[in-house]
């Protein structure tokens, strides 16, 4: 089973382009799998073809919502410890609370400002892929 760096779940092509460009420009991730909706993300995870080191998850997604995807990730023994960072437009407090309750590791609101946006994505990538020490995969 191979490993990828990031599973990026994002339906907006413009946000997707901005995020990918930032990650690549900063040499944070080489292997990125992009899912354009919740169903695609779940299908990828359930196929077991590769385990992501980090999931960047938007909440407002077609077909299956981000919260549902998060729930499935935490229920799957293979991915229950995988860091999941919510990257979305809203900063509604109940929404934030729900995400943490379901096991999200971090919640970041996408800034509108280009510079702030790229900085936010860069910091998230650096922290979770370079600084953070994950537990050993597959352990209970």
């Amino acid at each position: 089973m191979s490993t990828i760096d990031i599973l990026l779940v994002e339906d907006d092509p413009r946000d997707l382009e901005l995020t990918l460009r930032t990650l690549k420009k900063n040499n944070i991730a080489n292997h990125i799998f992009v899912a354009r909706d919740g169903a695609e993300a779940l299908a990828f995870l359930q196929s077991g073809s590769a385990q992501p080191r980090l999931v960047l998850l938007d909440l407002k997604l077609p077909k299956v919502s981000g919260l549902e995807v998060l729930t499935q990730i935490r229920q799957n023994p293979a991915t229950k410890d995988t860091p999941v960072v919510i990257l979305t437009s809203t900063d509604d407090q109940p929404e934030i609370d729900a995400c943490y309750r379901l096991g999200a590791n971090s919640f970041v609101r996408k800034p509108v400002d280009f510079a702030q946006f790229t900085e936010a994505v860069r910091q998230v990538g650096v922290y979770w892929l370079l600084l953070n020490q994950p537990p050993k995969a597959g352990q209970p």
Binding site: D12, L18, T88, S89, D92, P111, V112, D113
Partner: protein
Amino acid sequence: MEPRPTGSRRRIVAIAALGALITLGTVAVVYTQECKANQLRVEKIAAQLTHQSHERIERARLALDLLVAFFRCSDEVTTAEFDQFVAHILQSDFCVSWIAWRPAEIDRGPVMGRPEHQTAAMRTAMQELPPLAGTDHTAEVRGRGPETILLLRQNVFSLGTENGRPQGEALIAIDTSAALSQTLDEAGTHGLQLVLRAVGNAASPTPIQVHPAPAAIRATDQTPDMLAIVAPDRFEFGGRSFEVFCNLPSGNLDASTPLTWLALVIGTLATWWVTRGFSSMQRRHQYAEHLVAERTQQLAEANHALELRVAERTAELEQAHRELESFSFSVSHDLRAPLRAIDGFAGMLEEDHGAALDADAQRLLGVIRSSSRDMSGLIDSLLRLSRLGRHALQPTQVNVHTMVTSILAELRAATPDLRAEVELGNLGMVHADATLLREVFRNLIGNALKFSSKTTAPKVSIRRCDTDDTPSFAVQDNGAGFDPAFANKLFTPFQRLHRADEFEGSGIGLALCQRIVAMHGGHIEAHGQPGMGATFQFHLGALARPHS
């Protein structure tokens, strides 16, 4: 009208029965009293009559005694002497109407000096008496003449000389006229009859007669079929005993009872009136109850309808609220995404191809990017304003001094080139929602710093200025100020008094402040002059008063 319930009918019957009972009781008492009064009256009259009769008979007996004495004094009484004696008796107050003398032996001839029709009656009366033994004589009668008289007979043998030689027998008529007649008339109205009765020895000749015999007086030597004997009295006359009393042949002492009839009529009328009044009151009461029940029913229906409407409106409101929340989410998510793309792609263009663009193209890109950032700010402000409406007030004791110090530190960190001199008064404690109060101070202090930033010696003062019991605060600066004519517009959302290139801002901060202060039951006011600085003063109102 509704049929009268059984209970009510029973009450009316009870009242009528009670009235009848009271009436009958009253009538009985009045009747008893009246009977007693009647009896007393009759007894009084009877006693008077008996007494008067007795008195007259007593006087007549005196006259008889005198007559007996007169005959004893003379061996042979002449007619002239007898006439003289009788004249003397009649002139005196002996109640004697006339006196007849029947000589024992001598026929004296007709009565002298009297009209024949008068003397005839006297003679008849005399002759009705049993004759003297072995004699047949006419009588000498002297007197005023009869009206109603009592004839009293002296024992024949009592009229004699001192040595016992008989001279005849005499008859004395008692005058019953004048006062006695009047009493007799009165007694007659009550059905009373005066009775004179000889007691014992019924076989001997009747010693007393009434002449002529009127219904009001009765003389007898037998026991009559009496109904009631009233005021009996006894007397002696000529050696015999007599009873005088009143008889009440009808026995009706209850004859006169007008008060009883009056009581009966008044009682019946009163009972009828009270029963009728109560019945009418009952009807009114029932009608009132009926009305109340009807109104209560109507009220209940109206209430029910109102409740339904309230529920309907509540549902509508809840729906509107859900739509507003959904709108807020859309604003937050859907409006920001395209803005991010605008700024992001402009940014990429600037980064990747900036070198290929001339200065004007770069300026144009800059305008695009700053506009998108402005709009982002506006959207955030709008969100904050709309979320405020859903914020439930959570008041706690807040140390305002600590809060303001912390806000100043934040603002200094965000704007390192801050030159303003900040003066802090003693701000103390206040009872308020800490998050919201922080928003107010952050906006007001931020504004004060912003609008004084272009002044040569910027100065901001934050102080407490309670009025009465109301916690109040003032934030003052010496900056750009404003035209007081537009003071009211300051608190309208998105309303700005300065151009965006002078002082940036969304125009939402003061609107937020006003809403928060209003949520605490207070108000905010602004004072200022162009170029002379501004003072914002807010009063927190009743909600923020310190607990005593």
